[in-house]
Chain length 255, copies 2
């Protein structure tokens, strides 16, 4: 595992930012790996809703770990959204590392829309690093995502870096000046959520961003394609062309 | 359950054929229900690959039943592909009915590409109907799908109807004359797999088809959309518009 984590770490240090697409099941992860993405994240929204559960409610620990186990054969590095850590961040991190993932995202947003107190989140991050030093811990602050305490963003990312986080993630961050301020505040890679129409990867690269992830975007695109295609069949419209064949989809998993 | 099965049965008897889109997880099922589809099938390819397993290998019994259980809150009638019955067709059918589904698809194709002997498949269908009389059993013959014994198609569908099947399904059927021959051979609803570019629902309706399902088409469209969207982010291309929002995706499941 150490070598794979090292490889993942280096993907944050090459010329271009790491583009991290987010999967929610083995099929989406395997299809993204097949398309050439070297590392893949997960979307907690996708994992939750695919399993009939709500996101960001701390109820998908079993499903999240199971996804990592089932994805062991996917030829890509996997980093996993564990929401707030399911009340056992170090334990979950250890399970996920055992199952073969190279990293986690752990967030300070809580189901009620507030932030976990800073000292508590710092302790959580430190506990994960103490238990699984080899895991790449991407510490997410939801100051922008939940639009609470935005002015505390720099304080939070600095504290998480000091606690041992390997990267920080501020979803919802869009204003270039805000991005630059975060990048300058910490000596570790900064992750930004791709927001369609708000920026491009090239622009974010120019601001010093080292990882760009897609969050729930791909999951939502898949849902839209599912419904649109069903409606096209029903209404006699055109269905998408150039789809993977049955055999290509089957070949995404070992048989 | 009896009332729901009756409602499902009637959907095969209205003016237009039943359009049955096929889901593979709770999210796709819930999105299709939200789009107004009254009944939803499952795609065994999608269920298998989403879980990191091969299709048509008889290895997804647990995942298939689990999907039905997790989909209990989806506001649509659910009919479930159980491949060949996982060596326990009646038992699986009972579990699936208990979990709230109104029907199953059971196929005579085998993992090695041959057909289950006719007498054996007839006994299997009869056993399911004896155990769960209220379940709508759609008996699928893979003569066209596997391109074996095509000339035995009518013999098979008649035998399945005589064994108590509530409908028959011949995936791969495309030639209008072949479709009409099957429709005229049995007194129960005939299901055809939608094949893009080969026919429309309106044409199939004119031939007497009573159910049109999408098989793995929506799953493959979702995979394609996933990869295309990730590539668009990476390459600075246009990502799809009019996607469901985070809140809309979250609202697909009860919270």
């Amino acid at each position: 595992m150490r070598a794979e984590v090292e490889r993942f770490r280096r993907l944050h240090q090459s010329g271009a930012p790491l583009i991290l697409p987010n999967a929610w099941d083995v099929a989406s992860a395997a299809a993204l790996a097949r398309a050439g993405f070297a590392a893949i994240g997960t979307t907690s929204l996708g994992v939750a809703v695919a399993n009939g559960l709500p996101d960001a409610a701390g109820v998908t620990r079993v499903e999240t770990v199971e996804l990592v186990r089932r994805s062991a054969g996917v030829p890509a590095l996997l980093t996993v959204d564990v929401e707030g850590g399911f009340d056992d961040a170090a334990g979950v991190a250890a399970e996920i590392a055992d199952a073969g993932a190279v990293g986690i995202n752990i967030e300070d947003g809580r189901p009620d829309g507030s932030l976990t107190p800073l000292a508590e989140q710092v302790a959580r991050i430190a506990a994960v690093k103490a238990r699984v030093p080899d895991l790449f811990v991407n510490a997410r602050t939801d100051t922008h995502w939940l639009a609470v305490d935005k002015e505390r963003t720099l304080e939070r990312v600095r504290a998480y870096a000091d606690a041992g986080a390997d990267g920080v993630f501020v979803p919802g961050l869009a204003d270039p000046d805000d991005v630059v301020r975060v990048v300058r505040s910490v000596p570790i890679p900064v992750n930004v959520l791709y927001l369609p129409g708000r920026h491009t990867v090239a622009q974010l690269a120019g601001l010093g961003v080292r990882r760009v992830s897609t969050g729930s975007l791909l999951f939502r695109a898949a849902l839209a394609a599912t419904v649109r295609t069903a409606e096209a069949v029903r209404d006699g419209g055109a269905v998408p062309e150039s789809l993977p064949s049955y055999a290509e989809a089957q070949a995404l998993v070992g048989s």
